[in-house]
Symmetry: C2
Subunit: 382 residues, 2 copies
């Protein structure tokens, strides 16, 4: 098998299977739907979305999005509790600008999304980590930590965690809300994988608690439609929305993405988003099944992972003392790659883990990747 | 005349003529061109622009933009010296994140764009102002000030200044570059009005000096195509581009606006941008002629202004001691409004000025606005 899959942000060597890449496959990018939606939107003769928009996002798009979220969450979402963003990376960056100063402490999960850690570093913030177990963020540790520190916010990935693949249980969500309400601690919940469930529905989105504690739920079209749109939303209280939409960037720019918003308005109205999410769920569910089977077949018994229930990732655990970096050169030589666990730890720990992603390659390539990876690991651990 | 002109960011009372508004008229937003360009772009079956993009912007769009700028500037622009942004407000905000810390001094012009001042305030920066005269930023004052302070950057609007409407002369540009090269001071040049010249060409874009001193030229499609696109560019050195494109936001988000970029790629390739700019020049040139005639007719002799050579604004000067805020309530009562000079001063000075904008209304309404304004001012100054 010789192939080359290239996207603008990545350029891999011929035949390389890079299981670190957290992007959708090329063929899962909905170009036909975008074409139809753009035509639907632009042929109406409207042009308000070409002007400076409302700071929080134009009201008709927020209305459509609120309806969509209401149906998905099966709980009412108010359009006035939504603020349109350029995706979660931009939202996170902007939250740092408006809610922190350099040197502030921010709480992060251990592990956490490695590029969120980079955004916090760009803002010269000081991350302190709270561990994650099979039920997500360990709220008892959080509560203990909050006795001695006063962070600017807590950054959490509650559902189908990147990289740990775990989901914060309902009980823990309630605990988290109770603790943060009591301490008046802002929760920034990155819920980018919330809609990518492959079996049961996840617990309610954190956004639905925004009236109880200071909380911003970050949603995005990157994983459920297309990353290149740079479109997402905050679901939060009107108080927070007022603060953010009064900022210089918002008033000067007039909303973060009015043009793309209106095309995605058509994507939703035409029913394409719902269908596309269903398609993604089916594709990823099937990939997981095959990929996990092959991993089980080829990985030594001492290497452990759980079959993901949603999201993009498999978080593979090796015995204590193993450092997955030590055999990365060899896997690369065998044309298979991954991200080692320390990428996801702000203290560069968790070296006995690796993150594997199944969003980018189809079953056949994933199976081959599992085979190549298993061979190198077996050789190295034996 | 009873009318109501509404856009998402603004909602004016019936019949109000708000001469403060710095937006293009509704009918100048190129909806037909955007429809054709989207069709041209999306019907090709490509979808790379739906994926995470290159951090600095996808190369084919940077190529097209570089060609366009090369033709306009009549000097070669290298695609590798361009970084695609979400427009100048976002770019400015992000420069603050990456190049400043709270408490840092930034140099601004007196007057300056009021929402840039708001962005600097959001970043807790400390603005120090350098005056502007008929030839733009007073470089001799700048040089003197730099003997005692060490600012993070200088923010300047070199061409068709907002609000002062002046243009930095070629000699001053050379002076500015010399001084900033010597002091290693980063120049952030907001060149959003550069292409909106109504008589002669302006001096060369500041971007063309980026190899001589630390300099970021900010360009935007907001004033030459449509603000709702949230699309612009930095023209700067490869060193600066490397720093910015290595940031967490860029690596995580994969470029700031790949989808809209590719549609605008078609706008440029199809020749629409050139034609649209020509149309804007013709429309605004005609508006200025009529508006200035009417202002001359209705404003008292002691009130002075220069006929703008480009951009969006007329900067009207009253005698020392006059405060234009004092008659703003009365003008509002008479259904005409403006922005008083102190909006554009970080020290809230320049009260004896007002900014009038001719981009939003057609000739007939501008003429009526001039009449209404002239009447209130005459009554108040007599």
């Amino acid at each position: 098998m010789k192939f080359k899959q290239t996207l603008p942000q990545i350029d891999l060597p011929l035949d390389m299977i890079h299981l670190g890449i957290g992007q959708p496959s090329n063929y899962l990018l909905p170009s036909k739907e975008m074409e139809k939606a753009a035509d639907h939107c632009l042929s109406k003769g409207n042009n308000f979305f070409l002007a400076y928009g409302e700071e929080r996002g134009n009201s008709n798009f927020r209305g459509t999005l609120a309806e969509f979220l209401t149906a998905q969450y099966q709980k009412p979402v108010d359009p006035d509790q939504l603020l349109i963003t350029n995706g979660n990376s931009q939202a996170l960056d902007f939250i740092c600008t408006l809610f922190t100063c350099p040197g502030d402490t921010v709480l992060v999960e251990e592990p956490s999304y490695f590029l969120a850690l980079k955004i916090f570093a760009d803002h010269k913030l000081n991350p302190v980590s709270i561990p994650v177990d099979d039920n997500g963020l360990m709220t008892d540790v959080l509560e203990e930590r909050l006795e001695t520190i006063n962070p600017a916010f807590l950054y959490t990935i509650p559902t189908y965690h990147n990289p740990a693949s775990v989901t914060l249980s309902l009980k823990r969500r309630q605990e988290l809300i109770r603790i943060c309400a009591q301490k008046n601690l802002l929760v920034v919940a990155d819920e980018v994988y919330h809609f990518l469930n492959y079996s049961d529905d996840p617990p309610p989105s954190m956004g639905t608690w925004n009236n109880i504690c200071p909380l911003i739920s970050l949603g995005s079209f990157s994983k459920i439609l297309a990353p290149g749109l740079r479109l997402g939303w905050m679901h939060t209280s009107e108080e927070v929305i007022k603060k953010i939409s009064g900022s210089g960037l918002m008033v000067s720019g007039g909303g973060l993405n009015p043009f793309t918003s209106e095309i995605v308005n058509s994507v939703i109205s035409l029913g394409f988003l719902k269908t596309h999410i269903q398609r993604l769920r089916n594709v990823y569910r099937q990939r997981i099944e095959i990929f996990c089977d092959q991993l089980k077949k080829y990985l030594p018994d001492q290497v452990m992972f759980k079959v993901p229930k949603g999201g993009y990732f498999i978080w593979v655990k090796f015995l204590d003392g193993v450092d997955t970096n030590t055999f990365r050169k060899e896997t690369q030589k065998q044309n298979v790659d991954f991200y080692p666990g320390n990428f996801f730890s702000h203290q560069k720990e968790l070296k006995n883990y690796m993150r594997l992603c199944f969003s980018f390659y189809d079953e056949k390539i994933l199976a081959e990747g599992a085979r190549r990876l298993g061979k190198v690991i077996s050789d190295n651990l034996s």
